[in-house]
Protein backbone atom coordinates (compact mmCIF):
# COMPACT_ATOMS: atom_id res chain seq x y z
CA UNK A 1 0.00 0.00 0.00
CA UNK A 2 1.53 3.31 -1.06
CA UNK A 3 1.01 6.44 0.97
CA UNK A 4 -0.99 7.85 -1.89
CA UNK A 5 -3.72 5.30 -1.26
CA UNK A 6 -4.00 6.13 2.45
CA UNK A 7 -6.84 8.36 3.66
CA UNK A 8 -6.46 10.27 6.89
CA UNK A 9 -9.37 12.01 8.58
CA UNK A 10 -8.81 15.18 10.58
CA UNK A 11 -11.54 15.94 13.10
CA UNK A 12 -12.68 19.39 11.96
CA UNK A 13 -15.02 20.61 14.69
CA UNK A 14 -12.75 23.36 16.02
CA UNK A 15 -9.04 24.17 16.21
CA UNK A 16 -5.97 23.79 14.00
CA UNK A 17 -7.38 21.12 11.72
CA UNK A 18 -6.31 22.82 8.47
CA UNK A 19 -2.63 22.61 9.47
CA UNK A 20 -2.92 18.83 9.95
CA UNK A 21 -4.65 18.53 6.57
CA UNK A 22 -1.74 20.42 4.94
CA UNK A 23 0.79 18.28 6.79
CA UNK A 24 -0.79 15.01 5.66
CA UNK A 25 -1.00 16.24 2.07
CA UNK A 26 2.61 17.38 2.23
CA UNK A 27 3.49 13.77 3.13
CA UNK A 28 1.70 12.59 -0.01
CA UNK A 29 -1.41 11.03 1.55
CA UNK A 30 -5.07 11.97 1.25
CA UNK A 31 -6.62 14.12 4.00
CA UNK A 32 -10.32 14.59 4.71
CA UNK A 33 -11.93 17.06 7.11
CA UNK A 34 -14.30 15.13 9.35
CA UNK A 35 -17.40 17.09 10.38
CA UNK A 36 -19.85 14.19 10.84
CA UNK A 37 -19.48 10.68 12.32
CA UNK A 38 -20.47 8.82 9.15
CA UNK A 39 -17.34 10.21 7.42
CA UNK A 40 -15.17 8.02 9.67
CA UNK A 41 -16.04 5.09 7.41
CA UNK A 42 -14.05 6.69 4.61
CA UNK A 43 -10.71 6.97 6.42
CA UNK A 44 -7.91 4.64 7.57
CA UNK A 45 -6.67 6.83 10.42
CA UNK A 46 -7.80 9.88 12.36
CA UNK A 47 -6.09 12.97 13.75
CA UNK A 48 -7.74 14.82 16.63
CA UNK A 49 -6.15 18.27 16.42
CA UNK A 50 -5.24 20.99 18.89
CA UNK A 51 -7.86 23.53 19.81
CA UNK A 52 -9.92 23.95 22.95
CA UNK A 53 -10.65 20.49 24.34
CA UNK A 54 -13.77 21.73 26.18
CA UNK A 55 -15.24 23.02 22.90
CA UNK A 56 -14.28 19.97 20.83
CA UNK A 57 -15.61 17.60 23.53
CA UNK A 58 -18.99 19.35 23.57
CA UNK A 59 -19.27 19.13 19.80
CA UNK A 60 -18.22 15.43 19.84
CA UNK A 61 -21.05 14.69 22.25
CA UNK A 62 -23.60 16.93 20.56
CA UNK A 63 -23.04 15.41 17.11
CA UNK A 64 -23.04 11.78 18.23
CA UNK A 65 -19.38 10.99 17.55
CA UNK A 66 -18.79 8.93 20.67
CA UNK A 67 -20.11 5.59 19.42
CA UNK A 68 -18.39 5.86 16.03
CA UNK A 69 -15.08 6.88 17.57
CA UNK A 70 -15.27 3.90 19.95
CA UNK A 71 -15.88 1.63 16.95
CA UNK A 72 -12.96 3.22 15.09
CA UNK A 73 -10.69 2.56 18.07
CA UNK A 74 -12.03 -0.99 18.56
CA UNK A 75 -11.16 -1.81 14.97
CA UNK A 76 -7.55 -0.76 15.81
CA UNK A 77 -7.44 2.04 13.28
CA UNK A 78 -4.71 4.53 14.25
CA UNK A 79 -5.68 7.76 16.03
CA UNK A 80 -3.25 10.65 16.65
CA UNK A 81 -4.19 13.20 19.31
CA UNK A 82 -2.20 16.44 19.51
CA UNK A 83 -2.51 18.71 22.57
CA UNK A 84 -6.30 19.06 22.99
CA UNK A 85 -6.57 15.81 21.01
CA UNK A 86 -4.37 14.11 23.62
CA UNK A 87 -6.72 15.29 26.37
CA UNK A 88 -9.67 13.87 24.46
CA UNK A 89 -8.21 10.35 24.01
CA UNK A 90 -6.68 10.06 27.50
CA UNK A 91 -8.04 7.54 30.00
CA UNK A 92 -7.93 10.08 32.85
CA UNK A 93 -7.76 13.87 33.00
CA UNK A 94 -6.92 15.56 36.29
CA UNK A 95 -9.90 17.45 37.79
CA UNK A 96 -12.05 16.81 34.74
CA UNK A 97 -14.36 14.25 33.21
CA UNK A 98 -12.55 11.27 31.75
CA UNK A 99 -11.54 11.39 28.10
CA UNK A 100 -12.43 8.77 25.50
CA UNK A 101 -10.11 6.37 27.31
CA UNK A 102 -8.17 5.04 24.32
CA UNK A 103 -4.69 5.35 25.87
CA UNK A 104 -3.64 4.50 29.40
CA UNK A 105 -2.40 7.91 30.52
CA UNK A 106 -3.44 10.50 33.06
CA UNK A 107 -3.16 14.01 31.64
CA UNK A 108 -3.45 17.53 32.98
CA UNK A 109 -4.61 20.49 30.87
CA UNK A 110 -2.61 23.74 30.68
CA UNK A 111 -0.04 22.04 32.83
CA UNK A 112 2.88 24.43 32.27
CA UNK A 113 0.77 27.53 33.10
CA UNK A 114 -0.87 30.19 30.99
CA UNK A 115 0.00 31.44 27.45
CA UNK A 116 3.00 33.39 28.75
CA UNK A 117 4.56 30.02 29.74
CA UNK A 118 4.12 28.53 26.27
CA UNK A 119 7.51 27.54 24.81
CA UNK A 120 9.53 26.04 21.95
CA UNK A 121 12.17 23.39 22.53
CA UNK A 122 14.35 21.14 20.34
CA UNK A 123 13.76 17.54 21.38
CA UNK A 124 15.06 14.06 20.50
CA UNK A 125 12.67 11.53 18.98
CA UNK A 126 12.95 7.73 19.31
CA UNK A 127 12.64 7.45 15.51
CA UNK A 128 13.43 9.32 12.30
CA UNK A 129 17.15 9.92 12.87
CA UNK A 130 19.37 11.88 15.23
CA UNK A 131 18.32 15.38 14.22
CA UNK A 132 16.37 17.20 16.92
CA UNK A 133 12.72 18.07 16.38
CA UNK A 134 11.42 21.58 17.05
CA UNK A 135 8.46 21.05 19.40
CA UNK A 136 5.97 23.87 19.92
CA UNK A 137 4.11 23.82 23.23
CA UNK A 138 1.06 26.12 23.50
CA UNK A 139 -0.79 26.09 26.81
CA UNK A 140 0.34 22.50 26.69
CA UNK A 141 -0.88 19.55 28.75
CA UNK A 142 1.36 17.14 30.65
CA UNK A 143 1.18 13.38 30.83
CA UNK A 144 1.27 12.85 34.60
CA UNK A 145 1.18 9.05 34.53
CA UNK A 146 1.52 6.44 31.81
CA UNK A 147 0.57 2.76 32.10
CA UNK A 148 3.08 -0.09 31.47
CA UNK A 149 1.90 -0.64 27.88
CA UNK A 150 2.57 2.93 26.82
CA UNK A 151 5.77 3.42 24.79
CA UNK A 152 7.57 6.70 25.41
CA UNK A 153 8.76 8.23 22.14
CA UNK A 154 10.09 11.55 23.44
CA UNK A 155 10.65 13.35 26.72
CA UNK A 156 11.74 16.71 28.09
CA UNK A 157 13.43 16.11 31.44
CA UNK A 158 10.94 13.83 33.20
CA UNK A 159 7.94 14.89 31.15
CA UNK A 160 6.64 12.51 28.48
CA UNK A 161 5.75 14.58 25.40
CA UNK A 162 5.21 11.91 22.72
CA UNK A 163 3.81 8.45 23.44
CA UNK A 164 2.11 5.48 21.82
CA UNK A 165 -0.02 2.56 22.92
CA UNK A 166 -0.95 0.19 20.09
CA UNK A 167 -3.02 2.21 17.62
CA UNK A 168 -3.01 5.45 19.63
CA UNK A 169 -0.33 8.14 19.24
CA UNK A 170 -0.33 11.31 21.37
CA UNK A 171 1.79 14.46 21.58
CA UNK A 172 1.58 17.31 24.08
CA UNK A 173 2.97 19.68 21.42
CA UNK A 174 2.04 20.77 17.87
CA UNK A 175 3.96 18.99 15.07
CA UNK A 176 1.49 20.49 12.56
CA UNK A 177 2.78 24.04 13.15
CA UNK A 178 6.10 23.52 11.40
CA UNK A 179 7.65 21.88 8.37
CA UNK A 180 9.44 18.87 9.87
CA UNK A 181 7.08 16.04 8.95
CA UNK A 182 8.78 13.15 10.80
CA UNK A 183 5.93 12.65 13.27
CA UNK A 184 3.24 12.75 10.60
CA UNK A 185 5.34 10.29 8.55
CA UNK A 186 5.53 8.01 11.59
CA UNK A 187 1.74 8.17 11.97
CA UNK A 188 1.28 7.36 8.28
CA UNK A 189 3.51 4.29 8.77
CA UNK A 190 1.26 3.19 11.66
CA UNK A 191 -1.70 3.48 9.29
CA UNK A 192 0.13 1.59 6.52
CA UNK A 193 0.86 -1.31 8.89
CA UNK A 194 -2.71 -1.42 10.20
CA UNK A 195 -4.07 -1.64 6.65
CA UNK A 196 -1.67 -4.51 5.85
CA UNK A 197 -2.84 -6.38 8.95
CA UNK A 198 -6.44 -5.98 7.93
CA UNK A 199 -5.95 -7.39 4.46
Amino acid sequence: MTKRGVSVGVLALQGAFREHVYSIRLCGARAIEIKFPYQLDEVDGLIIPGGESTTIRKLINKYGFRYYLDEFNRSKKPIFGTCAGLILVAKKVLNEDAGLGYIDIEAQRNSYGRQIDSFEEYVKLKFGGEEKFKAIFIRAPKILKAGPDVAILSKINDNIILARQNNILVSTFHPELQKDMRIHEYFLKMIGKSIKREN
Binding site: Q14, G15, R18, E19, G50, L59, I116, S118, F119, R139
Partner: protein, 293 residues
Protein backbone atom coordinates in the same frame (compact mmCIF):
# COMPACT_ATOMS: atom_id res chain seq x y z
CA UNK B 1 13.87 26.83 25.63
CA UNK B 2 12.29 29.89 24.03
CA UNK B 3 9.21 31.77 25.17
CA UNK B 4 7.13 34.64 23.74
CA UNK B 5 8.13 33.89 20.13
CA UNK B 6 5.96 34.92 17.19
CA UNK B 7 5.27 31.23 16.50
CA UNK B 8 3.84 30.76 19.99
CA UNK B 9 1.79 33.96 19.73
CA UNK B 10 0.28 33.17 16.33
CA UNK B 11 0.05 29.48 17.31
CA UNK B 12 -2.47 30.16 20.07
CA UNK B 13 -4.64 32.03 17.57
CA UNK B 14 -4.42 28.98 15.27
CA UNK B 15 -5.84 26.86 18.10
CA UNK B 16 -8.81 29.23 18.49
CA UNK B 17 -9.84 28.89 14.83
CA UNK B 18 -13.34 27.74 14.07
CA UNK B 19 -14.35 28.93 17.50
CA UNK B 20 -16.29 31.66 19.26
CA UNK B 21 -14.71 34.18 21.65
CA UNK B 22 -17.32 35.67 23.97
CA UNK B 23 -17.41 38.94 25.91
CA UNK B 24 -18.15 38.39 29.61
CA UNK B 25 -18.38 40.76 32.56
CA UNK B 26 -18.64 38.35 35.51
CA UNK B 27 -17.62 34.91 36.72
CA UNK B 28 -21.18 33.74 36.17
CA UNK B 29 -21.16 34.83 32.52
CA UNK B 30 -17.69 33.36 31.98
CA UNK B 31 -18.96 29.98 33.20
CA UNK B 32 -21.98 30.17 30.89
CA UNK B 33 -19.65 30.93 27.97
CA UNK B 34 -17.38 27.99 28.80
CA UNK B 35 -20.39 25.72 29.24
CA UNK B 36 -21.66 26.80 25.82
CA UNK B 37 -18.35 25.84 24.19
CA UNK B 38 -16.57 29.21 23.81
CA UNK B 39 -12.89 28.80 22.89
CA UNK B 40 -11.96 31.88 24.92
CA UNK B 41 -13.59 34.71 26.87
CA UNK B 42 -12.92 38.44 26.80
CA UNK B 43 -13.02 39.78 30.38
CA UNK B 44 -14.73 43.18 30.43
CA UNK B 45 -16.25 45.58 32.92
CA UNK B 46 -19.07 46.36 30.52
CA UNK B 47 -20.05 44.82 27.20
CA UNK B 48 -19.80 47.14 24.18
CA UNK B 49 -23.55 47.90 24.03
CA UNK B 50 -23.37 49.22 27.59
CA UNK B 51 -20.13 51.11 26.92
CA UNK B 52 -21.90 52.77 24.02
CA UNK B 53 -24.92 53.63 26.19
CA UNK B 54 -22.84 54.90 29.12
CA UNK B 55 -20.61 57.23 27.10
CA UNK B 56 -17.60 58.83 28.85
CA UNK B 57 -14.10 57.35 28.81
CA UNK B 58 -13.93 53.54 28.61
CA UNK B 59 -10.74 52.07 30.12
CA UNK B 60 -9.07 48.75 30.87
CA UNK B 61 -11.15 46.48 33.12
CA UNK B 62 -10.45 46.35 36.87
CA UNK B 63 -7.74 43.66 37.37
CA UNK B 64 -9.81 42.16 40.19
CA UNK B 65 -12.61 41.26 37.76
CA UNK B 66 -10.09 39.90 35.24
CA UNK B 67 -8.34 37.71 37.84
CA UNK B 68 -11.64 36.29 39.09
CA UNK B 69 -12.62 35.35 35.56
CA UNK B 70 -9.17 33.82 34.93
CA UNK B 71 -9.70 31.67 38.04
CA UNK B 72 -13.20 30.62 37.05
CA UNK B 73 -12.54 29.07 33.62
CA UNK B 74 -9.96 26.75 32.04
CA UNK B 75 -10.17 28.26 28.53
CA UNK B 76 -7.86 31.18 27.61
CA UNK B 77 -8.85 34.63 28.85
CA UNK B 78 -8.38 37.86 26.88
CA UNK B 79 -8.69 41.47 28.04
CA UNK B 80 -8.73 44.85 26.31
CA UNK B 81 -6.36 47.78 26.60
CA UNK B 82 -6.92 51.20 25.03
CA UNK B 83 -5.27 51.89 21.67
CA UNK B 84 -1.72 53.05 22.36
CA UNK B 85 -1.99 52.55 26.14
CA UNK B 86 1.11 50.43 26.67
CA UNK B 87 0.93 50.86 30.45
CA UNK B 88 -2.47 49.14 30.53
CA UNK B 89 -0.95 46.43 28.33
CA UNK B 90 1.96 46.00 30.76
CA UNK B 91 -0.51 45.60 33.62
CA UNK B 92 -2.52 43.01 31.70
CA UNK B 93 0.64 41.08 30.83
CA UNK B 94 1.66 41.02 34.49
CA UNK B 95 -1.72 39.48 35.39
CA UNK B 96 -0.87 36.53 33.12
CA UNK B 97 -3.65 37.21 30.63
CA UNK B 98 -3.50 34.92 27.58
CA UNK B 99 -4.21 37.52 24.86
CA UNK B 100 -4.49 41.33 24.84
CA UNK B 101 -6.99 43.05 22.56
CA UNK B 102 -5.78 46.57 21.73
CA UNK B 103 -9.31 47.70 21.11
CA UNK B 104 -11.22 50.56 19.56
CA UNK B 105 -14.14 49.64 21.84
CA UNK B 106 -12.27 51.47 24.61
CA UNK B 107 -11.47 55.18 24.31
CA UNK B 108 -8.12 55.56 22.51
CA UNK B 109 -5.23 56.77 24.68
CA UNK B 110 -3.04 57.79 21.73
CA UNK B 111 -4.38 59.21 18.49
CA UNK B 112 -1.18 58.63 16.57
CA UNK B 113 0.55 55.52 17.86
CA UNK B 114 -0.52 52.00 18.66
CA UNK B 115 1.29 49.84 21.21
CA UNK B 116 4.64 48.41 20.06
CA UNK B 117 3.54 44.84 20.53
CA UNK B 118 7.02 43.38 19.87
CA UNK B 119 7.91 44.57 23.39
CA UNK B 120 5.59 42.00 24.91
CA UNK B 121 5.71 38.25 25.49
CA UNK B 122 1.91 38.06 25.58
CA UNK B 123 0.23 37.99 22.14
CA UNK B 124 -2.01 40.81 20.85
CA UNK B 125 -5.11 40.88 18.68
CA UNK B 126 -5.94 44.16 16.93
CA UNK B 127 -8.89 45.48 14.94
CA UNK B 128 -8.72 46.35 11.25
CA UNK B 129 -11.14 47.65 8.62
CA UNK B 130 -8.94 47.05 5.57
CA UNK B 131 -5.76 45.27 4.48
CA UNK B 132 -3.45 48.24 5.04
CA UNK B 133 -4.62 48.62 8.63
CA UNK B 134 -4.29 44.87 9.26
CA UNK B 135 -0.71 44.86 7.92
CA UNK B 136 0.25 47.94 9.98
CA UNK B 137 -0.90 46.16 13.13
CA UNK B 138 0.95 42.99 12.15
CA UNK B 139 4.00 45.17 11.48
CA UNK B 140 3.70 46.43 15.06
CA UNK B 141 3.64 42.84 16.31
CA UNK B 142 -0.04 41.82 16.39
CA UNK B 143 -0.33 38.01 16.26
CA UNK B 144 -4.01 37.96 15.33
CA UNK B 145 -6.38 40.32 13.52
CA UNK B 146 -10.09 40.82 13.92
CA UNK B 147 -12.17 42.86 11.55
CA UNK B 148 -13.69 45.66 13.60
CA UNK B 149 -17.33 45.74 12.56
CA UNK B 150 -19.24 48.17 14.74
CA UNK B 151 -19.28 46.86 18.31
CA UNK B 152 -22.37 47.01 20.49
CA UNK B 153 -24.82 47.55 17.63
CA UNK B 154 -26.09 44.03 16.98
CA UNK B 155 -25.81 45.03 13.32
CA UNK B 156 -23.56 42.86 11.17
CA UNK B 157 -23.31 45.26 8.22
CA UNK B 158 -19.93 46.78 9.17
CA UNK B 159 -18.42 43.38 9.96
CA UNK B 160 -19.43 42.27 6.47
CA UNK B 161 -18.02 45.42 4.90
CA UNK B 162 -14.65 44.98 6.63
CA UNK B 163 -14.38 41.27 5.88
CA UNK B 164 -15.23 41.79 2.22
CA UNK B 165 -12.82 44.72 1.96
CA UNK B 166 -9.90 42.74 3.37
CA UNK B 167 -10.74 39.70 1.26
CA UNK B 168 -10.95 41.74 -1.94
CA UNK B 169 -7.75 43.65 -1.20
CA UNK B 170 -5.89 40.39 -0.57
CA UNK B 171 -7.13 39.01 -3.89
CA UNK B 172 -5.99 42.15 -5.69
CA UNK B 173 -2.58 42.18 -3.99
CA UNK B 174 -2.08 38.50 -4.79
CA UNK B 175 -2.73 39.07 -8.49
CA UNK B 176 -0.26 41.94 -8.96
CA UNK B 177 3.19 41.65 -10.54
CA UNK B 178 6.09 42.19 -8.13
CA UNK B 179 7.06 45.61 -9.52
CA UNK B 180 3.70 47.07 -8.49
CA UNK B 181 3.90 46.04 -4.85
CA UNK B 182 5.94 49.01 -3.61
CA UNK B 183 3.36 51.46 -4.85
CA UNK B 184 0.59 49.34 -3.29
CA UNK B 185 2.52 49.41 0.00
CA UNK B 186 2.77 53.18 -0.30
CA UNK B 187 -0.93 53.62 -1.03
CA UNK B 188 -2.02 51.30 1.77
CA UNK B 189 0.53 52.64 4.21
CA UNK B 190 1.55 49.05 4.88
CA UNK B 191 5.03 47.55 5.41
CA UNK B 192 6.45 46.49 2.02
CA UNK B 193 7.66 43.07 3.27
CA UNK B 194 4.17 42.20 4.47
CA UNK B 195 2.60 43.26 1.16
CA UNK B 196 5.08 40.94 -0.59
CA UNK B 197 4.11 38.13 1.79
CA UNK B 198 0.39 38.61 1.00
CA UNK B 199 1.26 38.68 -2.71
CA UNK B 200 3.13 35.38 -2.42
CA UNK B 201 0.74 33.49 -0.14
CA UNK B 202 -2.64 35.01 -1.03
CA UNK B 203 -3.59 35.32 2.63
CA UNK B 204 -2.94 37.28 5.80
CA UNK B 205 0.12 36.04 7.69
CA UNK B 206 -1.98 35.68 10.88
CA UNK B 207 -5.40 34.34 11.83
CA UNK B 208 -8.30 36.72 11.07
CA UNK B 209 -11.47 36.63 13.19
CA UNK B 210 -14.54 38.79 12.73
CA UNK B 211 -16.05 41.06 15.38
CA UNK B 212 -18.55 43.83 15.90
CA UNK B 213 -22.26 43.22 15.43
CA UNK B 214 -22.48 39.42 15.14
CA UNK B 215 -25.58 38.46 17.12
CA UNK B 216 -27.23 35.37 15.63
CA UNK B 217 -26.13 31.93 14.34
CA UNK B 218 -26.92 33.15 10.82
CA UNK B 219 -24.61 36.16 11.31
CA UNK B 220 -21.82 33.80 12.39
CA UNK B 221 -22.38 31.62 9.32
CA UNK B 222 -22.42 34.63 6.99
CA UNK B 223 -19.14 35.98 8.24
CA UNK B 224 -17.48 32.53 8.26
CA UNK B 225 -18.60 32.01 4.65
CA UNK B 226 -16.98 35.34 3.81
CA UNK B 227 -13.68 33.91 5.06
CA UNK B 228 -13.41 34.63 8.79
CA UNK B 229 -11.34 32.10 10.78
CA UNK B 230 -13.67 32.47 13.79
CA UNK B 231 -15.89 35.02 15.53
CA UNK B 232 -15.96 37.36 18.48
CA UNK B 233 -19.43 37.83 19.93
CA UNK B 234 -19.76 40.71 22.34
CA UNK B 235 -23.15 42.07 23.24
CA UNK B 236 -24.96 39.51 21.06
CA UNK B 237 -24.98 36.82 23.75
CA UNK B 238 -25.64 38.50 27.06
CA UNK B 239 -28.05 41.06 25.55
CA UNK B 240 -30.18 38.27 24.11
CA UNK B 241 -33.19 36.71 25.81
CA UNK B 242 -31.58 33.34 26.47
CA UNK B 243 -27.76 33.72 26.63
CA UNK B 244 -26.82 30.05 27.15
CA UNK B 245 -29.01 28.87 24.30
CA UNK B 246 -27.84 31.68 22.01
CA UNK B 247 -24.20 31.02 22.89
CA UNK B 248 -24.49 27.28 22.16
CA UNK B 249 -26.27 27.97 18.89
CA UNK B 250 -23.56 30.39 17.72
CA UNK B 251 -20.85 27.84 18.62
CA UNK B 252 -22.56 25.17 16.51
CA UNK B 253 -23.19 27.64 13.68
CA UNK B 254 -19.49 28.54 13.60
CA UNK B 255 -18.49 24.87 13.23
CA UNK B 256 -21.20 23.99 10.70
CA UNK B 257 -21.35 27.35 8.93
CA UNK B 258 -21.77 25.75 5.49
CA UNK B 259 -24.67 23.54 6.52
CA UNK B 260 -28.09 25.28 6.25
CA UNK B 261 -30.01 22.36 7.83
CA UNK B 262 -27.95 22.58 10.99
CA UNK B 263 -28.15 26.38 10.96
CA UNK B 264 -31.94 26.18 10.72
CA UNK B 265 -32.08 23.69 13.57
CA UNK B 266 -29.92 25.73 15.96
CA UNK B 267 -31.73 28.97 15.06
CA UNK B 268 -35.10 27.62 16.23
CA UNK B 269 -36.70 29.04 19.37
CA UNK B 270 -33.77 31.16 20.52
CA UNK B 271 -36.01 33.98 21.79
CA UNK B 272 -35.19 37.58 21.00
CA UNK B 273 -31.72 38.43 19.75
CA UNK B 274 -30.30 41.70 21.02
CA UNK B 275 -32.01 44.87 19.91
CA UNK B 276 -29.95 46.18 17.02
CA UNK B 277 -29.07 49.75 16.07
CA UNK B 278 -29.34 51.09 12.53
CA UNK B 279 -25.87 52.41 11.66
CA UNK B 280 -27.13 55.71 10.20
CA UNK B 281 -28.59 56.55 13.63
CA UNK B 282 -25.09 56.65 15.15
CA UNK B 283 -23.34 60.03 14.88
CA UNK B 284 -19.98 59.78 13.08
CA UNK B 285 -17.96 60.80 16.14
CA UNK B 286 -19.45 57.86 18.06
CA UNK B 287 -18.41 55.21 15.52
CA UNK B 288 -15.91 52.90 17.22
CA UNK B 289 -14.57 51.42 13.98
CA UNK B 290 -13.16 54.83 12.98
CA UNK B 291 -10.86 54.82 16.02
CA UNK B 292 -7.24 53.87 15.36
CA UNK B 293 -5.87 54.05 11.80
Amino acid sequence: MEKGTLKLKTGLAEMLKGGVIMDVTSVEQAKIAEEAGAVSVMALERIPADIRAAGGVARMTDPEIILKIMDAVTIPVMAKCRIGHFAEAQILESLGIDYIDESEVLTPADEKHHVNKWNFKVPFVCGATNLGEALRRIGEGAAMIRTKGEAGTGNVVEAVRHMRTIRDEIKKAAALPKEELMSVAKEMGAPYELVVLVNETGKLPVVNFSAGGISTPADASLIMQLGADGVFVGSGIFKSENPLKMAKAIVEATTHYKNPEILAKVSKGLGNAMNGIELSKIPNEELMSARGW
